[in-house]
Symmetry: C2
Subunit: 357 residues, 2 copies
């Protein structure tokens, strides 16, 4: 039997609940497919701050690096919101992404037929939406230097950050995105602000250059403000979107809300070598933490992405995804995706139903 | 009679058509209210590039500066899309904003009862939406230095920009936003990315400090990715939003699309002294230029904002806004907002109907 070591990072809020359910789904799918998982849990985010005073302990990063894949729940909460920057849970997440060099963040936004009514968009606009947002994750304004605080020539206090991209950073994320678009519907839309920003001008030029390596993919370009509009106007026009770190942060959240079921959406963050990082796109939802009300499906589907993109175990991935769809078709719903006539269940029960399916 | 000098900047694409209609609306409202307008037209954007080789000729900026208010149509088009940065129509627009020091960009996104069906959002989500986005317009990553191209320590080409805000820039836009929120429903949401960016941390701190000057306004903070989601999930939760230049660019376009009628939405850009700049938020729509198909209402409503915010002529502003609402209630629609049972009209005819109303 094949064996993989998986680092689990439950994190904060509803993180531990949803990770525990996803772990069970992984174990079961593995046992059916003849895959053995060795799990080790490590603290990060607010949990790590409370435990050892930093949001990403060295041991956690080392454990993550030495494993075959990393499954993260969620991090953050009101409790740490006023912390200084280096003591924020979010800083730990950024250090983890950078530490694992996972530069390509894949965020699918799919409207499932079973859940089309959860969208705030009209049915005819929402149904059939199936977008993959490929977000650059270890560059841009999130990490650019110089950054910090200072004073300007008038003696005024300032805060500043640097948006910066290099050709090699752009090329590698573009190649990932073209490759994904090639395996999907062959349409890639690159989103930038090349009418204003030099960093975007270089982005547009390089993405256009890389296009020649992928003759079967149709490339288009769109300004970010227009993309934010077009996602609302007609999301079905998009297949694969590639964009920088900050625009990807904004647009992938917008796209996910268009599906109406954020509690359903997984993500994968991949590097060139080394383990990938897999996490639901929803947050830690401190308001409902510990009440067994969270929707575990995004984390279960993140585990499926881990199997597919991280470990190359397509069969096990499919098995989990099918079980999730079956569970929805049977009518089981957590509170966030509940609609009249369905069976309202909690986090654990939803997990059990997926295991049965 | 009072007299104002107005600089008209028709610009590109449908710009000249819609500005000409708005000019007539201004003249009529003025003659009824005892206001005299002296109009002078000046070239900018692609039109100026073709004429004199720069997107904002000195004479145009001087004329704008010396007038009481500036009405702009739209700029840009495929023809100039590949121009170098300093020869882009967009660069002319940025130079105009900076040259007029109009740091506060007001972008209302209102769902009119007559047009609620144009929104792609469900009726119950869209109806009653009335948001004012206050966007900082002369700072941030649009203008921050250093910017440009270079190489990094690996010899890789890079493109870079600087996101930077000073306390005085933040304070003045915050005061404008609080003041607007005070006159509306007293709710201000400040949008930033303070969990990652130092520029946003300073933003959040200063906006919070200014709040004490406006005890009747309830201030909240939201991360930009969450704001992009919340605008889709439940836009009615927002009253007034204040944010930086780039986030405002993205969120105001998203908010405007939520109304379903971008061809209806005006904007005002105001400084501390000197003339304001008023323009529809839609683009130059080169595809439909010269066909008398454009919707002139956004520009007519921008003229109304000019009267209200630029010249303090509330009665004339009200008169124009009422005429627009009456025209819609009579059933007149341009193609972009047409629905079955309504009267389809072109740009000029729509203008005539507004004049009659
Ligand atoms: C928590 C935050 C730092 C993070 C980001 O901005 O990347 C989150 O919004 C996300 O999208 O994963
Ligand atoms: C044309 C472009 C430079 C401009 C901007 O980004 O500000 C436009 O998108 C706008 O919002 O007015």
């Amino acid at each position: 039997t094949k064996s993989y070591s998986i680092t689990l990072l439950p994190g904060d809020g509803i993180g531990p609940e949803v990770v525990s359910v996803a772990k069970d789904a992984l174990s079961l799918a593995g046992s059916i497919e003849g895959i053995d998982f060795r799990f080790q849990e490590a603290p990060m985010g607010g949990a790590a701050l409370d435990l050892v005073g930093v949001p990403l302990p060295d041991e956690t990063l080392t454990s993550a690096r030495n494993s075959d894949a990393v499954l993260l729940g969620a991090i953050g909460g009101y409790k740490w919101d006023k912390n200084e920057k280096h003591l924020k849970p979010e800083t730990g997440l950024l250090q983890l992404r950078k530490g694992l060099k996972v530069f390509a963040n894949l965020r699918p936004a799919i409207v499932l037929p079973q859940l089309v009514h959860s969208s705030t968009l009209k049915k005819e606009v929402a149904e059939g939406v199936d977008i993959m947002v490929v977000r650059e994750l270890t560059g841009g304004i999130y990490f650019g230097k110089p950054r910090g605080f200072g004073t300007n020539e008038n003696g005024d206090d300032i805060g500043f950050n640097t948006e910066v991209y290099s050709t090699s950073e752009i090329d590698r994320i573009a190649r990932v995105a073209f490759d994904i678009a090639r395996k999907r519907n062959g349409k890639l839309c690159s989103v930038d602000k090349a009418n204003v920003l030099e960093a975007s001008m270089l982005w547009r030029r390089r993405v256009s250059d890389i296009a020649s390596e992928f003759p079967n993919v149709e490339l288009s370009h769109m300004y970010v403000d227009n993309a934010a509009m077009q996602l609302v106007r007609n999301p079905k026009q998009f297949d694969t979107i590639v964009t920088n770190n900050i625009f990807g942060d904004i647009l992938s959240d917008e796209a996910s809300m268009i599906t109406g079921s954020i509690g359903m959406l997984p993500s994968a963050s991949l590097g060139e070598l080394g383990p990938g990082l897999f996490e639901p796109i929803h947050g830690s939802a401190p308001d409902i933490a510990g009440q067994d009300n969270a929707n575990p499906l995004a984390t279960i589907l993140s585990a499926a992405m881990m199997l597919r993109y991280g470990l190359g175990e397509e069969n096990a991935a499919k098995r989990i995804e099918d079980a999730v769809l079956k569970t929805l078709s049977k009518g089981f719903r957590t509170g966030d995706i509940f609609s009249p006539g369905m069976v309202l269940v909690g986090c654990k029960r939803m997990g059990e139903e997926v295991l049965k399916s």
